[in-house]
Symmetry: C3
Subunit: 343 residues, 3 copies
């Protein structure tokens, strides 16, 4: 239980009304109990304040809190930032440090005494886990994977499995197709066996990196796959071997970065987006959800589509495509000598 | 071993010929042994009946079973429904209730005595598992995740991990890009740190929900992420924080639903389809495989494409696009004064 | 530690200079230590040879090694093949045979004595694991899954979970939409319950198959899902029930193959590509990354797009689409009587 005043101070926010009101958790306005803080950062949620029982609400700065039947209000200029601070205040204590008795650690792995290692975790030879890391249940940390300080791995993450790197003795069709643009027939191959290029390079992960459930980061070939400081990775994301991901990057759910691709600092990769192998995506880039990037992207660009192009180009093409069926109908009319429809 | 008559009765189907024939499992016609039921619901499979050794077949209603060299036939009007009933009849007994000795359960978790909890499962504080649930090996059930009755979780499912919700102190490029349509340069940021909005809301899952291997459902922020009764989720699917999935929904493999999105009852989301965050998809909607939905969808709509539009609109644009190269060639001819090619 | 001569002989490659130089690992040229082999198969990496300390480099055949400040060189005609051989030479010894004490094996499972079974692996009834297989931590091998010889499963792979196969008592909207092309309204359904078609068929996997972390292969309905010899599957890939994948196929990360689809020998499916259910993709096909295949594909075809078409057709349409906005602007000008812009 915290008072309105205590929460506002933790948020660095202003407060109004009865600062001594005690608060026990947060809720959406319509379902908030009398002891909960109603989170009403949008007009839609503010309209629901009458439906719940909350006596205090979190509102944006500038809204007149006295129009609602409240006894107090906390007001913050940047709502989601206030949510980050509020939920941190209300979150249960982090997992206490220590290694769960079911975890299987290689004797050469170095685990910080302040790290928390969950049930059924396995950690391989030569791995290291930094100060304050939280490794949830079922994570698989392979040989020579190094995590910095304060990293959070959600359940069943796999770090440092072998990269997907295979080669045939003579050129395979997929190699020919890349250069011939699909024009050449498949080559005759005496031996279609895929020979494995082993992954000897491990993974190096910076500080304060968070990786979502069931995501995978493969080991590099002869140097480590790298993930920079402060980067956040969602669930079911794939990062291929030799990839170099910068600092403060976001990789949303089910995104994929293929082998040896470089992603610059502060770039945001939307959900389900894919980056081809061996390309460089600059800093401060935004890749829209579901887009597929096949070539280098300069700094600061906003990209959409398949293949991804500048957002403005994509929108222009897309709008033109929607007008195209009517155009074709009109041209068909002209060609046959009939009148163009009046449109 | 069941007789033809017993199987037909379990299926509510008609049978013909020797109802006393004993059957030990089902197979495709060409590989069926003499004691197996040949499943021949299509003309293709019926044509293979002569290649196998089955004495009895499952056929659609209305087919003349005597044209095949069979001693008996079971005939049902809706083939796949009959397959559901047949395979249920032949399936091995479900996992017996009980908790595998390797499972790690938080002392505050409530597990029904009729639930079956597999090896290496972990269940967090305040979680509850209803009557008859089957939780397969390696599933991770986080704090405050509630499952109703009769749910099936396939291996390595992760429920209730933290949502992917981060915010910077000042607006990041991805925020600017959404409003400026990619026209503005990245903002100067003194501090690119992503602050985490913690997930305090847990997950609530209804009755008879099935979730496929390695799928993930994140916890909500201040209210639970919800999945309705009878909904079925395939492998490698992501459901984001605060999402509300209705009853009897299908989410096919590798689909993704981003945070705070609502999906109505009986809607079917195809494989690899993605739904953006904070949108509402209505009831009885069908989203084609690989489509990306970026805005609200009304009830009953069939959607395709990137971004997803009405299926008819998508097909029209797509056909026009295929005709476009020829059109451009013709117009280039007109423009240069040459004759339009006769096409 | 191996000598230059020993490595060259293991690679079947030529060597020059001091064959007695001892090598301890490989590295990229700029970061190579004096005892490491610098891998410099491209001009870019060759330009970095001066920045590191390596005395010996791996170079392509035909490059004049004496132009670099090296004491020896190994030269191979096909660089990535040499990398396969080199990394195999340098790789740590494979996991020793044996079953980790934490693994949970069904008493009816047959495990080769030469197989290596990692921590927290579970293996179901009637499963069999062939000679020399390596099953990494947390893999889930279901009932009646059979692996041939020399297979490698990376962590948290799930084989043999139930297929995603459900049917309603009367036709659902998704069935109607397929035949009506989205033109018909959702049918009235008295009962929207999805009835499960159980998966009784297991999985059969050939020899020398490798499957990446967190990938899933579902059990077949009444016959096994099949994966052929020498096929390699990347991370987070889904293979649906009844699928038949040929020999020496590559399935790149996050690809998906829906139920009952057939993939021919030596076909390569790019990252994030999806194959619809019940289609046949031929031999030696290449499906570009992110493409979605909705219908059969003949042998040898290179396919791109959504829906996937011949690469040449896709590129032609794509180029035309990029020219379309300008065309529309020109036609709008003609229509209004103004001059067409000179472009």
């Amino acid at each position: 239980m915290l008072s309105v005043k205590e929460i506002a101070e933790a948020l660095g926010a202003e407060w109004h009304g009865d600062g001594t009101l005690m608060v026990n958790g947060a809720a959406e306005p319509a379902s908030a109990r009398t002891d909960q803080l109603a989170v009403a950062l949008t007009k839609g949620f503010q309209a629901q304040l009458g439906q719940g029982a909350a006596k205090v609400a979190l509102l944006p700065t500038g809204v007149d809190w006295t129009q609602f039947a409240l006894e107090a209000a906390i007001q913050a200029p940047r709502g989601r930032l206030a949510m980050a601070q509020l939920t941190a205040t209300l979150a249960p204590n982090p997992v206490p440090p220590g290694v769960h008795p079911t975890a299987v650690l290689h004797p050469t792995a170095e685990i910080s005494e302040t790290a928390a290692i969950g049930a059924f975790v396995s950690i391989g030879a030569g791995a290291s886990i930094g100060h304050g890391c939280q490794i949830a249940e079922g994570c698989r940390i392979g040989a020579n994977v190094r995590l910095g300080q304060g990293c959070i791995l959600h359940p069943n993450v796999v770090l440092g499995a072998d990269g997907f790197s295979f080669v045939t003795a003579t050129p395979a069709h997929v190699e020919v197709a890349r250069t011939s643009m699909g024009q050449e027939a498949p080559p005759q191959m005496d031996d279609p066996t895929w020979h494995k290029i082993h992954s000897l390079g491990g993974v190096v992960i910076g500080d304060n990196v968070e990786i979502g459930a069931n995501s995978t980061v493969d080991a590099g070939t002869i140097r480590p796959t790298q993930i920079g400081n402060g980067t956040k990775i969602d669930n079911l994301v794939q990062v291929g071997h030799n990839a170099v991901i910068g600092d403060h990057v976001l990789l949303c759910a089910q995104a994929g970065v293929a082998g040896s691709t470089v992603v610059g600092d502060r770039t945001v990769i939307g959900g389900k987006a894919g980056l081809a192998d061996n390309i460089t995506v600059g800093e401060d880039v935004v890749i829209g959800g579901g887009s597929v990037v096949l070539s280098n992207v300069p700094d600061g660009r906003v990209m959409l589509g398949y293949p991804a192009v500048k957002m403005t180009t994509h929108v222009e093409s897309y709008k033109a495509l929607r007008r195209l069926p009517r155009l074709l109908a009109r041209l068909a009319g002209q060609k046959s000598g009939s009148q163009a429809p009046k449109d």
